[in-house]
Symmetry: none
Subunit: 200 residues, 4 copies
DNA sequence: TATGAATGAGCCTTCATTCAT
DNA sequence: AATGAATGAAGGCTCATTCAT
């Protein structure tokens, strides 16, 4: 086992190299037009070696959002625990979402411009990852209503659509046009305006 | 000239047949994976005949949103003229957008799931068509502020992002999951909630 | 009949337009890569109209050398009649060949670079036209031997090969590289040197 | 390195197989009409494998004369070194040229009927290969003049044109019509007659 | 584990040719 | 006679994937 660990670590490292390279290439060319050869070159390995870790190009593409979204959710759980109100937590979630995209623009391009709107992706794990996003927000909206932080008459699904759609659209515009130029500065006011909508 | 008109009409008819067929196929398979052979079959003509009207597959794909968006904008101008307040007009625009998507789901899939988020589409005419959407909303938001219909402190770009993002997200969710099941019924409340945000 | 003649003339005119246009296009692009559309455009008529005169692209290509070579041969017969010696006539033939190419470079490109060396052309009429070239020279070589203008031991086929090959190679080099720059000036000495070979 | 050599050899072998197959197919059908599928079948490999070695059909076609001409030139240098007079060397060069064509008729068809007269081939390496032919002859003609083996008044370019054109034309006739039936037997007298032209 | 080598399946695009008007 | 419209057939090239080593 002591001899295998380094190997396993090495393997995990290579797998991550592939994911990183793939993220960049997919973000640049789109999944359909991206070439495995380009990913391999970017990762510094042989094309056929990619298949040691991922069975198909699509599987590779789908693995990317799954991993990072899981990370995002986990990190949110960590930081949310300390916050007193649902409003704070919801606010944090939206802010973290935007920050995450800003910090990982390649990943964000892949997620928001390729995976999310994809007609074709039916793979269960990806769908679940993405859908969790909505579920988390709906759950918080219900919780806030329940705790009296905002009106109980607020439709949680509709409101979640507004929150998610607004943040997503801000990010898409930034990813495609780099507007607003300073995404970090723009996120606060956007979240504030959205939160304002919840108030009585 | 009287002899040429039927020919021209026939030609325009065929071009429209191709556009309709292409919309369906692109919506189903995505632009990258769609096959010209399928489009031709759907249109009931020979593959090579498509090239009498469109130079490449991409050009064909791009023509679709351009035409319909122009229609949408024109129809909006018509109907907006009669409305007294900016709020009414803005409300109409958002409602019409949703209705247009509901009435033309294939076109909407192509626009919202393929064209809009595309990393790759740089073609000027398409970009302009899509960007006009934002410009129209921003212009109305400014007008409303100017006319005192809502607070002048409202940031028009941020607010436009919320409006567009919310509607787009509602449509995307409907296109992908058919939720809400009754899009028509859901549009009114959504627009109302968004308009409520503008109130002082 | 008086009403048909103009039509026939018009038709012949159009056919000639096509031949001229085709010569230019074939010379520029080669027969295989030349497009009927380009020829039609060059001739200022519809593509399908070409088929009123020539059944296929190849037939059109082959018609060109046939016509002009026939012209060349006829003109040679005319002018040769007045010459006293076979040597003079042979000399004239080679000179006229070079002059003809210089005066009709497109036709010459087609003949020397496409038709003559073509692996594929088996059509009898073309082959005969081209082969007549050799036959005329061989006949003159025999005649000269017979008349004692040069040694009877001279192999007529081999000598014909030298004469034709030399002239053809000079023309090909000129067509491809424009060397010698002044083909007209170079033709005399070339013919002289070749004729010198016949001398005892 | 010892492990790579067999692979490299295998690769070179396959590349040569492709060249051989391509030569045959190009000679039969002409470059423009030849199909990659036929070449692949002839070589016993997949079409796509050809693209491992040559980027396009044209590149493949051009590689063929380049390689063999280089061989011919190299072999000539070898054998010429032992010969005392320029006349001997020139004679050898012309003879070798004819022999080479006779021994490799497919290659010769490609070179003399497709590549050499091609209007379209501008690729530098091919042009240089072919042009070297003329340069070698001109150089020898100059050398012979210089060494007093023949008249210094002989124009080297014109004479080279005669030598090359005569040999080429003999070969073309043989390639197209198999005349003379015995090319080998005909080459000697042809070279002799040409050499006779150089004599004072 | 890692990869170089090989390929099969597929698809866009071109273009000579046909034919109804 | 002349042509615009339409197409069938064809082919070069790409690329994800496989597999022997």
């Amino acid at each position: 086992m002591s001899t295998q660990e380094p190997k396993q670590q090495r393997s995990r490292q290579r797998k991550n190299d592939v994911l990183t390279a793939a993220t960049r290439v997919f973000a640049r060319d789109g999944i359909a037009k991206a070439k495995m050869a380009d990913i391999a070159k970017e990762a510094g390995i042989a094309v056929s070696s990619i298949y040691d870790y991922f069975p198909t190009k699509e599987a590779l593409a789908y693995e990317i959002p799954i991993q990072r979204l899981a990370q995002l959710y986990a990190e949110f759980e960590d930081r949310a625990a300390a916050l007193p109100t649902t409003r704070d937590r919801l606010s944090l979630f939206l802010t973290m979402t935007a920050d995450h995209a800003r910090a990982n623009p390649d990943w964000a391009r892949l997620l928001y411009l390729e995976i999310w709107p994809s007609v074709l992706i039916q793979e269960a794990r990806v769908r679940r990852s993405v859908d969790d996003f909505g579920r988390i927000i709906v759950a918080m909206l219900r919780e806030g209503s329940h705790r009296g932080e905002w009106s109980a008459s607020l439709d949680p699904h509709r409101t979640a659509t507004i929150l998610m759609g607004s943040i997503a659209h801000m990010l898409i515009t930034w990813l495609l046009y780099r507007r607003p130029a300073d995404l970090e500065a723009a996120t606060g006011p956007m979240v504030e305006q959205l939160m304002g909508m919840l108030e009585v």
